[in-house]
């Protein structure tokens, strides 16, 4: 397996590969008119039509214990919708479980390819792997405590998995090296951090302060994961480019919503 990522080779995807053929097909495309009028918004209109007819991807299962049934009933009497919390907990549990598999894959690549200066260490990767696994355990316990079935795939868990479908694809592809794999892990950690932040906000908003306190510890660990993965990846890219390491770039202004 190649350790480097950005080498010059025989990439044939661009028009520069064959300037004569490219000029010829470009001219032919300009000369031949589309067979039907309209533009790229017609696809979106079909999507809108189906969206109006859609019933969603599925639902949150009913509580699996009597305690859960009772708690759900009480919450509903108070006017809140407890299934939202269950749905988001299901999402977090699923994401952390998949995350554990991602780090197993990263470790396997680390073992066969080695690392680089400022790159991932075995201890670092193993630590994150164990953190992910314990976070999965934490959310599973929370679900059981709330009387929910922790083995169910909730709608938000499904959406999160579809959103990150490419992550296991990168990690498990032997043609993609450890640096490529860190890119996938970076996407995972960015999402994971925001996911925990919002879960804590939701827990506090629903009065689950005890859970929120435990979740805060998970978020603290996730923030470290993100910094580690970003640092490893940045070092790898900088090293391969033989560029000088420089301080981390940040947005000039504090983020304010665009209106």
């Amino acid at each position: 397996m190649k350790k480097t990522t950005s080498d010059i080779g025989m990439n044939k995807t661009g028009i520069g590969t064959s300037p004569i053929d490219s000029a010829d097909i470009t001219k032919a495309a300009q000369e031949r008119q589309p067979s039907h009028l309209g533009d790229d918004t017609l696809i979106l209109k079909v999507r809108q039509q189906y969206a109006l007819e859609s019933g969603g991807v599925g639902s949150v299962p009913p509580p699996s214990s009597l305690k859960g049934v009772a708690k759900t009933a009480v919450d509903m009497l108070k006017g809140s919708k407890p299934t939202v919390f269950i749905d988001k907990l299901g999402e977090r549990a699923a994401f952390e479980r998949t995350g554990t598999r991602l780090y197993q894959g990263a470790l396997a690549k680390f073992e066969v390819l080695g690392s680089w200066e400022g790159g991932p260490t075995r201890e670092g990767l193993e630590r994150i792997l164990n953190d992910e696994l314990s976070h999965f355990g934490l959310v599973t316990e929370a679900l059981v405590k709330l009387g929910a079935d922790p083995t169910a795939m909730t709608p938000c868990a499904d959406v999160a998995a579809v959103s990150s479908m490419g992550l296991p694809a990168v990690v498990s592809d032997p043609r993609m090296n450890l640096r490529d794999t860190l890119h996938a892990l970076l996407v995972a950690e960015l999402t994971d951090n925001a996911g925990w932040e919002m879960l804590i906000e939701l827990a506090r908003g629903l009065g689950h302060d005890e859970l929120a306190d435990r979740f805060q510890m998970a978020l603290d660990a996730e923030a470290q994961h993100l910094a580690m993965v970003r640092g490893w990846l940045s070092a790898g890219v900088t090293l391969e480019a033989r560029a000088n390491p420089v301080p981390q770039a940040e947005a000039t202004n504090a983020p304010t919503p665009l209106v």
């Binding site: 044939k12 064959s18 032919a28 031949r32 589309p34 017609l42 694809a169 592809d173």
Partner: protein
């Protein structure tokens, strides 16, 4: 040098063996390998899928041949696996689809140019213009769904422009049937061509039927539904060219010879040594299978296989661009339609012709192929590149938003 299929005995069946590691190899590179390497892989997967399909169909209707069919078919299962598993995982179903249509265009064009029978050549040109349009529709979908350039896959070999519009390709079932070649008088190349293109189109159909539901976008799901329907028509059309009066063993011998010819064609083309070695190996395997089936044929029918096979294989398929031929065909035959097995100009058919009624019904709630490609003109780097360019330079402008 032409391959003498009677002289070359290939590898005996008992030495045609595999391991799981051998079957699952390093795939070709979507980025670095030539588009025609992908074309050969997709095409030969189709050929081998048909080898299995044909033998299964025969086994269901023939008691005596079951054992021999099972033995050869198992090897073909593994040949197909090794070939199909050369497709890389970073090549999405839509990208592979663009590859399927490039096969349908360039291989059919090569076949149409060499086909000795003018009626069959006309049929290949007729189907070619329809598959040519499919590449344009899928290309538009690829650009508009994922923001990617279909020419990354087709590599400037093949035009991405409208052909005979897909929306008018829908025909009443019997208008897809053609007159078969005559097994007694047809040139062997005619038989090989008809079997090859039938195989390729049948696999295209099966592929679209498999991957269509993987798409979340309803316009994409509709487009796959629509083009899969055309591939079903094409499979019906091309298979109707085959003489149904050939005996089963005659068909089996011809099918094996067809496989040898196609592997030999890929071998003649391929420049990637890792892939070329596979085409050499399977050319030798198929020669072994051909001779095995020839023995069955000669023992059962008391006929010499030389009566039905050419002594040497014809020139290999031209795995290359055929833009000039395709453009000329488009210019002259875009408005062709079929009335039963006969080709006519679309304007010659009455407005209430069964195929028009049929197609109007299907399109009455909108046409997916018109929707996805409305106003689409392929341009290098996607239609967004053209749109971004019209915004003026951002790099040299005052502010980046």
């Amino acid at each position: 040098m032409a391959l003498d299929i009677f002289q070359e005995k290939g590898v005996p069946l008992d030495r045609q063996v595999f391991t799981w590691k051998d079957l699952v190899r390093r795939p070709y590179s979507k980025l670095d390998d030539d588009a025609f390497t992908r074309v050969c892989v997709i095409y030969m997967n189709g050929i081998m899928a048909d080898a299995l399909r044909t033998k299964h169909a025969i086994a269901r209707m023939n008691r005596g041949l079951r054992e021999q069919l099972a033995i050869v078919r198992r090897i073909e299962q593994f040949e197909q696996t090794l070939i199909n598993w050369l497709n890389p995982a970073d090549q999405t179903p839509l990208e592979t689809t663009l590859g399927f249509e490039q096969v349908a265009i360039e291989v059919t064009a090569s076949v149409a140019l060499r086909e000795p029978d003018p009626y069959l050549a006309q049929t290949y040109r007729f189907g070619l213009l329809e598959d040519f349009d499919h590449l344009y529709r899928y290309g538009a979908l690829y650009d508009r769904l994922e923001g990617k350039d279909p020419n990354n896959i087709t590599q400037s070999y093949t035009d991405i422009i409208p052909g005979r519009p897909t929306s008018v390709e829908h025909r009443y079932p019997v208008d897809d049937l053609r007159r078969p070649y005559d097994k007694r008088t047809a040139h062997p190349l005619t038989k090989i061509h008809a079997m090859s293109i039938t195989a390729a189109e049948n696999q295209t159909h099966d592929y679209y039927m498999t991957v269509g539901p993987f798409f979340p976008d309803p316009a994409a799901r509709q487009l796959y539904a629509e083009i899969a329907a055309i591939e079903e028509q094409h499979t019906s059309m091309y298979e109707s060219l085959l003489d149904p009066d050939e005996s089963i063993l005659e068909k089996l011998v011809l099918h094996e010879a067809m496989q040898v010819y196609n592997f030999y064609s890929c071998l003649a083309y391929e420049k990637n040594p890792r892939i070329k070695e596979i085409w050499q190996r399977f050319t030798d395997y198929e020669l072994g299978q051909l001779h095995h089936v020839i023995q069955l044929f000669q023992a059962a029918e008391g006929r010499d296989a030389r009566e039905i096979l050419p002594a040497t294989l014809p020139d290999p398929i031209g795995f290359k661009e055929h833009r000039e031929f395709v453009r000329k065909t488009l210019n002259q035959e875009e408005d062709l339609a079929s009335n039963g097995p006969d080709y006519v100009r679309m304007s010659e058919l009455p407005r209430d012709h069964r195929s028009f009624v049929y197609r109007d019904q299907l399109n009455s709630e909108g046409s997916p192929s018109e929707t996805v490609a409305a106003g689409y003109q392929w341009t290098p780097g996607t239609e967004l590149a053209a749109r971004a360019q019209r915004m003026g330079s951002v790099l040299a402008g005052k502010k980046v938003h």
